[in-house]
């Protein structure tokens, strides 16, 4: 009886549909749109003769053909390919799996996979700066990033988890800055990549936070045994993070001076990095206070946050500078 209620509910919801008139009117608009934007696809396009095949088979056949015709150099040539380029499938289905397979240790394989997540985000940024990030390439990148993060995050070491979390956060900042200086249609596509990125950052943070909480639980036991050296270790780590903050701050200062335009995505990235550095300094000061009050668990957690903020700022700045050069070289070519 109750199962009938479930079936009835499903049937009732499935009844929601367009009326005949609505469907007809919708079709008329879409037909007009299709006629106004006709297909201009080349008859020589690879996907014309491969679209009936399954995707993996298509890539294998295409890859074999290109490797046979052009030799192994095509695999290397695909390194700089972007979504939408003919060599891009070679990059993600031949070259990148090959790199994972050739990595000798589990740790090395994980590092390669994290680097490949970062590569997808760099591709999105490059396309966005070039004004080539379309709805389909943004979906392709969203899916590739999400699948890879979902694939690796459970098996990552704490070090790689932290690196992944910092990398995702840094590229989120870069994309946000590019978005501020993009057209409305480009903004939508950038936002779609950001949506996937935010969800993946949550996944990465959740696993990273759980490892920090675990570390916090075992820290009192460890510190009871190694108390004298723990204090020295904290001091050394604090100095290291403080030095990193100063270095990144200097980098921001130097590049702000070199940057001609105050209203550019590069400057926006530098501004965000500057906020991150201030945040890192605050957390570091709080960590020191907690350490002075013998609250080592809190001190360690705060210094972790501070270190991540510095790394995030550093990655954002480096990437912003790379993209700035790319933008200017593109203008030069036009």
């Amino acid at each position: 009886m109750k199962n009938n209620h479930i079936k009835n509910t499903i049937v009732e919801i499935k009844k929601i549909s367009l009326t005949h008139q609505e469907k007809s009117a919708l079709f008329d608009v879409l037909d007009w749109y299709a006629e106004s934007n006709p297909s201009v696809k080349s008859p020589y396009s690879i996907s014309t003769w491969t679209h009936q095949l399954s995707r993996p088979l298509t890539y294998v056949l295409t890859s074999l053909l290109i490797v046979l015709l052009a030799g192994g150099s095509s695999v290397f040539a695909s390194e700089g390919a972007l979504p939408g380029d003919i060599l891009y499938p070679i990059k993600i289905h031949v070259s990148e799996p090959l790199k994972v397979a050739l990595a000798t240790s589990l740790e090395a394989k994980q590092q390669v996979k994290v680097a490949q997540v970062e590569e997808r985000l760099k591709e999105a940024e490059t396309l966005a700066v070039q004004g080539r990030l379309t709805s389909s390439t943004s979906i392709e990148i969203q899916q590739a990033v999400a699948m890879r993060v979902s694939d690796v995050h459970d098996s990552l070491s704490d070090k790689n988890k932290n690196h992944l979390e910092v990398t995702l956060a840094a590229h989120e900042n870069v994309l946000e800055s590019i978005k501020k200086h993009s057209s409305d249609s480009e903004k939508t596509n950038i936002e779609n990549v950001q949506i996937a990125l935010r969800q993946d950052t949550e996944v990465a943070s959740a696993s990273s936070v759980s490892s920090i909480m675990f570390a916090a639980k075992v820290a009192p036991m460890r510190s009871a045994k190694i108390n004298p050296s723990a204090s020295t270790a904290f001091s050394e780590r604090k100095d290291k993070v403080q030095k990193a903050i100063q270095d990144v701050d200097q980098k921001i200062h130097n590049n702000s001076k070199n940057n001609d335009s105050a209203d550019s995505f590069e400057q926006s990235i530098l501004n965000t990095a500057s906020s991150s550095i201030q945040n890192a300094q605050t957390k570091l000061n709080q960590a020191e206070d907690n350490h002075s009050n013998n609250n080592d668990d809190e001190a360690n957690a705060l210094i972790d946050v501070s270190e991540k903020k510095v790394q995030e700022a550093s990655i954002s700045i480096d990437r912003g500078l790379e993209l700035g050069k790319l933008k200017w070289s593109n203008r030069g070519n036009k």
Binding site: K2, E12, I13, V29, S39, T134, I195
Partner: protein
């Protein structure tokens, strides 16, 4: 114009226009807005077809685009609404299975309203997998593609959602 591409477009529109409209309508609670969003989804689908992009699964592609468009719609609506001041913590990426306003517009039996209320008390991630599986009859692989998660994760979410729903309703819900 490439007639094969156009034929494919017409066929996919005929097959899936109602599903995409339903998906939009249940989330935006406004029939005219839902029709506009459905139109946008199929325009983007056409744009991709004519560029020769390889769309492996048309239905999953349409739902992925629809999901993105609805998120954009929520974001734009929020940015021009005073409600935004009170709902700063709302996550535009996580929308409910069925909006309360839309539920009021549906002709549902008492028992169906009871069941929907229970489903709405589940996490949004659970609501989404139940919707795609039981209303749109999508396979776990297709749901995985839309939600950007692994196929195994979809199966786990469905199993957990059914367990939770069983506890909430007391129904003996059979796995499908």
């Amino acid at each position: 114009m490439n007639t094969r591409v156009k034929d494919r477009f017409v066929q996919i529109h005929t097959e899936h226009a109602d599903s995409i409209f339903r998906f939009c309508f249940l989330r935006v609670s406004d029939r005219n807005v839902a029709i506009d969003l459905t139109q946008d989804v199929f325009m983007r689908y056409w744009d991709n077809l004519i560029k020769g992009n390889n769309i492996q699964n048309d239905k999953a592609f349409l739902f992925t685009v629809a999901r993105n468009i609805i998120i954009d719609w929520y974001r734009k609506k929020k940015s021009i609404s005073l409600d935004a001041l009170q709902e700063e913590n709302d996550d535009p990426e996580e929308f409910a299975l069925i909006e309360d306003n839309a539920k009021g517009a549906l002709e549902l039996s008492t028992e169906s309203r009871f069941l929907l209320d229970k489903i709405k008390s589940l996490p949004h991630t659970s609501q989404q997998v139940l919707y795609f599986k039981y209303i749109e009859d999508l396979k776990p692989k297709e749901i995985a593609e839309i939600l950007h998660i692994k196929e195994n994760a979809v199966s786990v979410r469905i199993f957990r959602a059914l367990e939770d729903l069983r506890k909430l309703t007391g129904y003996d819900i059979p796995p499908q």
